[in-house]
Symmetry: C2
Subunit: 136 residues, 2 copies
Amino acid sequence: MLSKKTKYGLKALTYLASQQENTPVQISGIAQHENISQKFLESILLSLRKTGFLGSKKGKGGGYYLIKDPKEILMTDVMRVLEGPIAMVPCVSLNFYEKCDDCPDEATCSVHRLMLEVRDSALEVYRSRTLADLIS
Amino acid sequence: MLSKKTKYGLKALTYLASQQENTPVQISGIAQHENISQKFLESILLSLRKTGFLGSKKGKGGGYYLIKDPKEILMTDVMRVLEGPIAMVPCVSLNFYEKCDDCPDEATCSVHRLMLEVRDSALEVYRSRTLADLIS
DNA sequence: TAATTACCCTATCTATTTAGTAGGATAAAC
DNA sequence: GTTTATCCTACTAAATAGATAGGGTAATTA
C-alpha cells in the first residue's frame, strides 16, 4: 500500500508544478486545495525540502516552491524519498539492498527472482515519468 | 513491502511444486526446509487450502499437497490471496476497488493515474508467471 | 478400539509503523 | 517590533505484522 505520506507528497508536488509562476505557495493553501491535514503536510514538505526537491521562504509571502523544472524530476527519485525502496523485498533493492537472513541463496530463491521482475517493471514506469507528466 | 506471510506462502508453494510426487508433505518438513516458523506457516497453509490452492490430509502420512498443476497457478491469484490487492491504492484496484475519500475526481488525480500505470506493469508480470516458473 | 500422528482453530501478545497532533522556536517582511 | 509562515521536537492513538500458545479434531495403524 502507498502511504498517505507519499500520496500527499505527490499531490503537493503536482500542485506546485501546476502553478503558473514558481512563486512560494503557503502550506495552508496546498493543504486546503488537496484536502490534506496541514500539520501532516508540513512535515512532508519539510522532508521534500531537505532532500532537494523544494525551496522555502519564511515570513509574509513565504511558502514552498519547486527548485527544479518538473520535467527534470523523475518519479524514481520522488518515490524513493517519500515511500522508500521501490522493491518489495530488500534483497532486490538497488538503493536499499539488504540480505535476507532466512534465505541461504538468492540465486535459487523463487521469491527473489519473482520480485526482481516486479521491481524492474515498476522501475520502468517510474523512470519514464516525471513530475511534469502528473499534471492533468 | 512484501509481507512475511506472502514470502513464506510463495516459498511453501514453490517447495510443494518442486516435489517429485504430489504426495502430502508435512508442515514441519516445509518449515524446516524453508526456515519458517512452523506455527506461522500453519496458518498460511490453512488459508491456501481454504482458497483452493492446496489440499490436506490428516493423520499419519498426512500433510499438504497441490491441487492443481503448477503451470495452471497464476501469480495474480496467489498474490491476491496472500498479499491482497496488487494495486498500491484502492482506487486503482481491480479486485478490491474503493473510492478515495479525499479525492474529488479520479480522472484528474495525479496519484491515480501514476498508480494505474504501476498496477498495470505489476499485473503484466504476475499474469505472465505461474507457480511452475518459480521452480529453479 | 486405543494410541499416535498431524492438521484445525481460536485467542492472545508484542513490536513496529502510520497518521496525525501540540506547541513553541526561528526567521523574514512590513 | 509585530505579524506571518516556516522550522523543529515530542507525543499519541490506532492499526498491522508476526508470531506464540494450547488445545480440538480427524485419520491412520496396530
